[in-house]
């Protein structure tokens, strides 16, 4: 937090000037959890931080690896840091007055409900298919009042227009192309991962603003 040139009030005013007062008030009051801080989660969090989402809950057990730098919102000098700490640092450079909660742990069927209790909107941003399905099943079963925005299928460099958002159930949305799994020669690459993350962040924004 060195050499800060702007004040909290200036940032608030700037957000209001871009988004308007009524919209910003709703964004600023929102509580959003991001489960998994890889290519999806780090990009979602950056979008939400720039929107001025009032309360962000960042969850990941992992550390920044050099192989993450091709698509995730970390820097070379952060390799080895817990992702929760590295992302906290980066988000606070965007807006030093964000209200951030971080949990450096692995989300399980057992701890998920307690962990996500205070969040209204939950972004599933894991990497492993089994983990994605586990979180979705657990949230839908144990936290049916939450809004859930999950992702599946964003590897490679296929058509960007195949990345979509669809409403699966009343409070459950799915983003991605729903088919392209990460594989040898079809890895996770910055543009499509960021496209999918932007779909998730935009869906959360739409829900905050009362769209469905």
């Amino acid at each position: 937090m060195q050499n800060i040139q702007v004040t909290e009030e200036e940032i608030r005013q700037a957000l209001v000037s871009r988004h308007t007062e009524g919209i910003q008030a709703r964004i600023s009051a929102a509580r959003v959890a991001v489960a998994g801080l890889g290519g999806l989660g780090s990009n979602i969090a950056v979008s939400l931080a720039r929107l001025g989402v009032g309360h962000l809950h960042l969850i990941d057990f992992d550390r920044v690896d050099v192989t993450n730098l091709n698509r995730q919102q970390y820097f070379a000098d952060q390799v080895g840091m817990p992702k929760t700490e590295a992302l906290r640092e980066n988000l606070l450079r965007i807006n030093p007055w964000l209200d951030l909660r971080t949990d450096c742990l692995r989300v399980t069927e057992e701890n998920a409900a307690g962990l996500l209790r205070d969040d209204t909107y939950i972004c599933e941003a894991f990497d492993v298919a089994e983990q994605k399905a586990m979180l979705v099943r657990t949230v839908l079963e144990k936290l049916p009042e939450k809004y859930l925005v999950a992702a599946s299928g964003m590897a490679g460099y296929g058509d960007g227009n195949e990345i979509h958002t669809r409403r699966v159930a009343s409070r459950f949305y799915l983003c991605g192309d729903e088919k392209t799994e990460a594989a040898a020669g079809r890895g996770l690459m910055a543009p499509r991962v960021a496209l999918c993350a932007a779909h998730q962040a935009n869906m959360v924004l739409r829900l905050i603003l009362g769209e469905s």
Binding site: G41, A133, M154
Partner: protein, 67 residues
């Protein structure tokens, strides 16, 4: 014969079958899916016991890796 609506499409089965049998028949991996039956999630521990009946609506979301 029973007919259930699976991901928006009507499908016919010889008789009622468990969610688990259905997933196997369709080639889904149970640990990679979330299944909604008539609008509510089916817990994974109930896949063996929960039956798909005539007129049911099922939504099966299958996840692939990457994030």
């Amino acid at each position: 014969m029973i007919t259930a609506r699976i991901n928006g499409q009507p499908e016919t089965f010889a008789s009622s079958l468990s969610v688990s049998a259905f997933l196997e028949e369709k080639g889904y991996r149970p640990d990679r899916v979330a299944v909604e039956q008539n609008g509510s999630i089916v817990p994974k521990r109930e896949y063996e016991s929960r039956l798909i009946e005539d007129g049911d609506t099922l939504e099966v979301v299958s996840f692939v890796g990457g994030g």
